[in-house]
Amino acid sequence: MAKHSPVVGRYVTIDVDGYEYKVFYLRNGTGVPLVCQHTAGCHNHQWRGLLEDPEITANYDVIAYDLARHGKSDPPTNREWWKEEYLLTAEHFMNFITIFCEALELERPIFMGSSFGGNVALQLALHHPDKFRAVIPVEAAEHAPGFFLDLWRHPHANAAQVCASGVWDLMAPQSPEMDRWQTWHYYTQGAEVFKGDLHFYSVDHDMRGQLGNIDTRRCPVIMMTGTYDYLTPPDATENTARQIPGGIYIEMEDIGHFPMSENYPLFAVYLKEALHIIENKTASSAPA
């Protein structure tokens, strides 16, 4: 008897700023839409544990897409993309997400992303608070300089291994070896876009001085960071959350920068706490 997963994959074609993208996404569950963004240079398999977690999917419609140029989402089909350097910007990233959610006719989803996905979650809370029920920025901060490096795609090195082993110690040594190597394997597959993603992460994303303008009554912000994250260490996230009026920070012990992928059972404990907070906040703010 074949062992099928309840997770189903589909493609949807969208137009973002004149770029035509055929976007691949995985989906499972029923209830409040929970849209998930993978980390830079990676793809939606990072959310494999969440997508198959029956405790979550009983109440949430979990959707994990591949950002354009990642995984099974191709580069733009209407552009000679190979003739220009890929440098992701906050505006294009946000437009991609909001248009993707509109294409799927999602009603005020919760948005969760890790690393550069966490940083764009902060951007969405500031610029599109009414389009999202809440955001969960994971491993995020107001500013994350230092990772926009030429070494990620240097022609004299094996870029797949450089990217995969370069992020190896973003994970906690306690995380299961199988999951860490699985994450390593994913990272061998995105070497050509990693640096371009990091243009957003380390260069274009800079929310210093803007966090006070986030209205968490319209869009609650629940930030979570692992203690082994050296890129956005816990104090960076905590400092970010503290500047957001009503912002909440949850510290995750003994886990790193890819919590959903490197140790899902541990991440799930914290995620359920975050979702519970959102349930309470959105229930109390719903119109009578």
Partner: protein, 129 residues
Amino acid sequence: MVMSVRDWAVRFSEASDRDQTIGAMAKYFTCTYLWDMGTAKVIVEMIDGKVYRINVDPAPMDAYDFALRASPQTWREFARPIPAPMFHGIWSASFRRDLKIEGNTLALMQNLRNFTVQFELLRKVGVPV
């Protein structure tokens, strides 16, 4: 009691040469690097995935491709079975602690997969400081 650097070199060579993860992709793992632990310094010469030589008493003009330099305390933290946060790798310690990575970093990147595995052998082998 701190192990001697000579004993460390023997243990490290054996651990590296027997490591299956390195052995699975060892063919072109070739580079020479310095580990400066403050009170001990070694130059490890790798050829095709095997430890060819460990110089336990480097002279000033002895050559290497790249170097990792940190305090003895940081190297002792690297060698814990489960290192504390920010001591759990060369990237974390260079971003957040006193580890300095110097020299030809491209050579490090060319060998990064195996070098990273080899660095974590310190958790089993220990350090001579």
